[in-house]
Symmetry: C2
Subunit: 172 residues, 2 copies
Amino acid sequence: MQSERVASRSADQRDSSRESRNGTPQLDAVSLAIIQQLQEDGRRPYAAIGKAVGLSEAAVRQRVQKLLDQGVMQIVAVTDPLTVGFRRQAMVGIHVEGDVESIADVLTDMSEVEYVVMTAGSFDILAEIVCEDDDHLLDVINKRIRALPGVRSTESFVYMKLKKQTYMWGTR
Amino acid sequence: MQSERVASRSADQRDSSRESRNGTPQLDAVSLAIIQQLQEDGRRPYAAIGKAVGLSEAAVRQRVQKLLDQGVMQIVAVTDPLTVGFRRQAMVGIHVEGDVESIADVLTDMSEVEYVVMTAGSFDILAEIVCEDDDHLLDVINKRIRALPGVRSTESFVYMKLKKQTYMWGTR
DNA sequence: TCTGGGGTTGCGGATTTCGCAGATGTGGCG
DNA sequence: CGCCACATCTGCGAAATCCGCAACCCCAGA
């Protein structure tokens, strides 16, 4: 059993508490391996994960709990919104004048906004919106987003068909 | 216990096997409620879910399994790729000439491509790319995507900061 | 060398998962 | 209307898993 260990646990491996400049904890190889296991199946038993990554069941459990508490990962059910009754989705590109981050914060607080990212492209912000129908979508884009002070202009990309949606980073 | 039931199980509730035109199964209110529970916590015990939605533990288990098998939802760990060692992400807007769907299919098969959606905006396709560094990203965009026959032009939006990422549809 | 703290391990006991057999209910058909 | 076929739900043991806890290990600092 000892022989199945990923590696000798020393040096660069043990520092799962160190933090990089942006405040997010640095992950060691073992935690990464645990995350990979849970990306394949979020309900995989701790014991099975432990066997795969070379740790006891209890150790895996504690690390998973910590990753959850730290917000490094979340274990959730994901669906294609279209099958769950949300008929309209769109990506909205936003041109901002002034403080980009404060606009992003406002978007983050909107429940219809699913995804917000600041970019270095011709848009300052990309936001994904999930709505129940056209009226709802129109309302969010025109009345709620375009109306924000600091939003210079927007461009919308209404979704026609979701082709791929994975959560398998590192598993490839 | 009987009194906690969501509703009298009849009529519009029972047809979880009917399919809408696009081939995706139609979900009834109970399955929706189960999904909501799992969107809050992907590891929530079946018994707890059953209590919440008014079903026995075994029934919940069967429905969850079916939703998984049908591909309606998946239970997985999701992370911010930046904390897991992927330094560069980008959204790529693509202008296509000819068959859009076949291009989308090719993108879907690329492991670096995380998300593919066909849109009705000025781009035909939006694809999200997750890479380890700049070289990798450049390689994927220039050598792999732009090189595809049928791709007329692309525009990239490199991610600077991920502000929001949720999976709470229906929970609001 | 001693001490402190983070991380790991090894345990029971409580809880959950799993498989199965039986009950229930609905739709189709003679 | 009666009856069968099919899908779904329930109840229940057995097995596996989860969970909390105390002991242990190892490295770093005093």
